[in-house]
């Protein structure tokens, strides 16, 4: 478990040696981007109104306070379930050249391919810690696709020391959660055999 500090713009060489289970802290630009924004780019073929190349996206729908005059304050922000974006992520990474995809829980084979082929990482911010995360957002510098409502707007954030981010898929395509799942499922079958001896309540 090594710790890295990354600053956008992020180049391939900055992340090539980072492996699953390592910890990353981020400085620079991170854009919230979730369900409908992915769909709009990939299925509706609408160009993303924010350039995320060599930057980070966060699968998240924050609570943002509108201060007026296009000024906003980040109140609470944390990751949402990344797996919901799996359907779109491979194509998303390919089209945008985003380098860090931050979210919650694991992602699947498409994202693994994307991380390997386009040199990117999927990372997990410990979910539910939304005030902690909000204090790492220095400023919201832009907001696009506001028609999607507060959770789905692309909030462009300037962050400092944003983390801990635990690497779940690395540039070799290794996948922490998929590895864990194999072990979890093996243990589950053993536990079911034990429990089922004790629950024959219908006789």
């Amino acid at each position: 478990m090594k710790t890295y500090h990354l600053t956008t713009p992020i180049e391939d060489k900055d992340i090539e040696d980072i492996r699953i289970g390592d910890i990353v802290y981020l400085d620079g630009i991170m854009v919230t981007c979730r369900d409908v924004a992915h769909r709009r780019l990939v299925e509706e073929k609408r160009p993303l109104p924010v350039d995320v190349a060599n930057k980070a996206i966060l699968h998240a729908g924050p609570i943002v306070k509108d201060l007026g005059n296009d000024k906003y304050e980040m109140i609470a922000v944390g990751p949402t379930t990344s797996m919901r974006m799996e359907k779109f992520e491979e194509e998303f990474v390919k089209q945008t050249n985003v380098k860090l995809v931050i979210g919650k829980g694991g992602m699947g084979e498409g994202t693994q391919r994307a991380c390997k082929n386009s040199k990117a990482l999927h990372l997990v911010f410990p979910a539910g810690n939304a005030v902690f995360a909000a204090t790492k957002v220095e400023e919201i510098i832009d907001a696009q696709w506001k028609d999607l409502g507060m959770p789905e707007t692309l909030w462009v954030c300037k962050v400092h020391d944003f983390g801990p981010l635990i690497v779940s898929i690395d540039t070799k395509g290794d996948n922490l959660f998929e590895k864990n799942k194999i072990e979890f499922n093996k243990r589950k079958e053993e536990e079911i055999i034990k429990i089922n001896k004790e629950v024959r309540f219908i006789k």
């Binding site: 919650k104 979910a127 536990e191 089922n196």
Partner: protein
């Protein structure tokens, strides 16, 4: 499209209850109930690896910040759900739906809460955190008292809202219930923000089992079913799921759950309904009990006054 909402004209007592509820919803958004906070402290001591400790440290610091800054501790403040037991002589029974909806409307601005109501088929966010059927109010009128007990639950989109339920054949037995719960743990449960509070409902159909599983999440994490066999199953499932070793956030660890609660009701001879709802570690469940004069108690939040 625009969702039209006009604040209701409530009675004097109705307005008072609405204001208390709005204040309490804000408290629930930034403070975990006592039973959950205590359990998380215990679990944090058990996990010793640096990664697990880092996660638990982040959780601890987040809750301190949320309390200090009076902000929602997790950004997903859920689709609000109210599980209510109301005596038939509680004076505001007829105003309850309006009171709850307006309390959510006001708390959304004051807390602030996230806008989590998307009107289906028309597919637009109302921007108010209320919509058709949100908040959800589940009302039981068990007797003719003049009191009311209300559970307030911030049901999040990544944990408890994607529950599951199905109807088993009796031949599958309680072994089938175990399989259904355990399979959900290694698929959905990993992403539902462990350590989890697992609610299991056993009943006769999908909706009764699902409702029981939700009521199970309203029980405290260390509570035990009054039925001996159900209590046995709670214990077996808790050990079994812990031994899977999901750990905090599914990174692996010694513990997976804060607890397993089973709520059961009778079944038709041809069916076993089973439902599961997963509460995340940030299990923002509140309880407020009122008497007829609106004196209230907060049994899950010692030391809190509104």
């Amino acid at each position: 499209m625009l969702y039209e909402y006009t604040e209701p004209i409530l009675s004097e007592q109705g307005s008072k209850m609405r204001d208390i509820m709005a204040d309490y919803i804000s408290v629930v958004s930034h403070r975990l109930p006592d039973d959950v906070a205590k359990k998380l402290k215990e679990l944090a001591k058990i996990e010793v690896d640096p990664l697990q400790q880092l996660v638990y440290d982040t959780m601890r610091e987040n809750q301190l910040l949320a309390e200090k800054m009076k902000r929602p501790s997790c950004q997903d403040t859920g689709a609000l759900q109210f599980f209510v037991r109301c005596g038939s002589h509680f004076p505001l029974l007829g105003e309850l739906n309006s009171i709850f909806k307006d309390a959510v409307y006001r708390a959304t601005k004051e807390a602030p809460l996230r806008h989590n109501a998307v009107q289906t088929f028309d597919e637009y966010n109302t921007g108010l955190n209320i919509g058709n059927g949100i908040p959800s109010v589940f009302l039981d009128v068990p007797d003719d008292s003049d009191k009311i007990e209300i559970y307030v639950y911030m049901a999040g989109g990544g944990c408890t809202l994607p529950g599951a339920a199905m109807v088993l054949m009796p031949g599958e037995g309680y072994e089938g219930v175990v399989r259904f719960v355990m399979d959900q743990m290694t698929s959905y449960g990993i992403n539902a923000c462990p350590p989890l509070l697992v609610g299991v409902g056993v009943a006769t159909s999908v909706e009764t089992a699902a409702m029981n599983s939700k009521l199970a999440l309203m029980r405290t994490v260390d509570s035990v079913s009054p039925n001996a066999n159900a209590a046995k199953m709670e214990h077996l499932l808790e050990d079994g799921i812990n031994n899977i070793g999901l750990g905090p956030q599914g990174f692996g660890g010694k513990k997976s759950v804060m607890g397993v609660n089973v709520v059961n009701t009778a079944r038709h001879p041809s069916t076993i309904g089973v439902g599961i709802s997963t509460g995340c570690w940030s299990h923002r469940r509140g309880k407020i009990d009122f008497d007829a004069e609106l004196n209230y108690e907060l049994p899950l939040n010692e030391g809190v006054e509104l």
